[in-house]
């Protein structure tokens, strides 16, 4: 029972993932803040641009595909 509970908890932990050749992707329970644009929120998913090509910073707009 305890093992199962532990596993369930792990499964619902927020996930921070660096997508190869793509953005930083965060899923799960998030408290988000952009200190330069002074925006915030609690989205279920976030994709943050790491390549610098986005036209919608700080978010990814799939512009990294253009380099391929």
């Amino acid at each position: 029972m305890n093992d199962m509970e532990t596993e369930n908890k792990e499964n619902t932990l927020p996930i921070v993932e660096i997508v190869e050749g793509g953005p930083l992707k965060i899923t799960g329970k998030i408290i988000y803040r952009d200190l330069k644009r002074d925006t915030s929120g609690t989205p279920a998913e976030l994709k943050i641009c790491l390549c610098g090509r986005t036209q919608n910073g700080p978010f990814c707009d799939d512009s990294h595909d253009d380099a391929k």
Partner: protein, 171 residues
């Protein structure tokens, strides 16, 4: 926190008449609050980089408390005043509130991960989360992760402070 025999954090110390600020370079994730908020005191381009005469004690405390790591911490010089506060309480207040301040609830529900886009700097995640990168999957507990957005880091994908050197501007 690693401490000296006297219980104070290891690293360099900077004093004014009221407080001592401790600097632990290895813990810095380059969130850049210190010099953005108070360049008069915290100037990475100056040696020594901390000048305690640059502002008031209250303001220095405010900015040190913004540091998301243990890189910058502070204590009262008058040890009597420190008795009311633990080392933990003297710092990290802004990042830990309110969702991260309640570890006793951690068994009840998953706490949200704090995600902060730093001005012209990295993206900083704080809290409990799973980190996946390059086939590696790592569970992070009450951790801090600072990821490069400027592209100039020499320790990719992690921020090493290079955004300041190249004058990175988040557009």
């Amino acid at each position: 926190m690693e401490t000296n025999d006297d219980g104070y954090p290891k690293g360099r110390k900077y004093k004014n008449g009221e407080i001592t600020v401790y600097w632990k370079p290895g813990a810095c994730v380059h969130a850049s609050y210190c010099y953005r908020e108070l360049i008069e005191v915290f100037d990475p381009g100056r040696r020594p980089w901390v000048d305690m005469s640059g502002s008031t004690t209250d303001r220095i405390i405010d900015v040190v408390n913004m540091c998301p790591t243990e890189a910058l911490t502070w204590k009262w010089n008058d040890d009597e005043k420190n008795k009311d506060i633990s080392v933990d309480q003297t710092n990290h207040v802004i990042f830990r509130r309110p969702e991260l301040l309640k570890p006793e609830e951690s068994n009840e529900e998953i706490r949200p991960v704090s995600v902060k886009v730093m001005p012209d700097g990295p993206i900083v995640m704080k809290g409990d989360f799973t980190f996946q990168y390059n086939g590696i999957k790592k569970k992070v507990k009450e951790g801090i992760l600072s990821i490069c957005r400027c592209g100039a880091s020499k320790q990719m994908p992690f921020c090493d402070g290079a955004h300041r050197k190249i004058g990175y501007e988040d557009k």
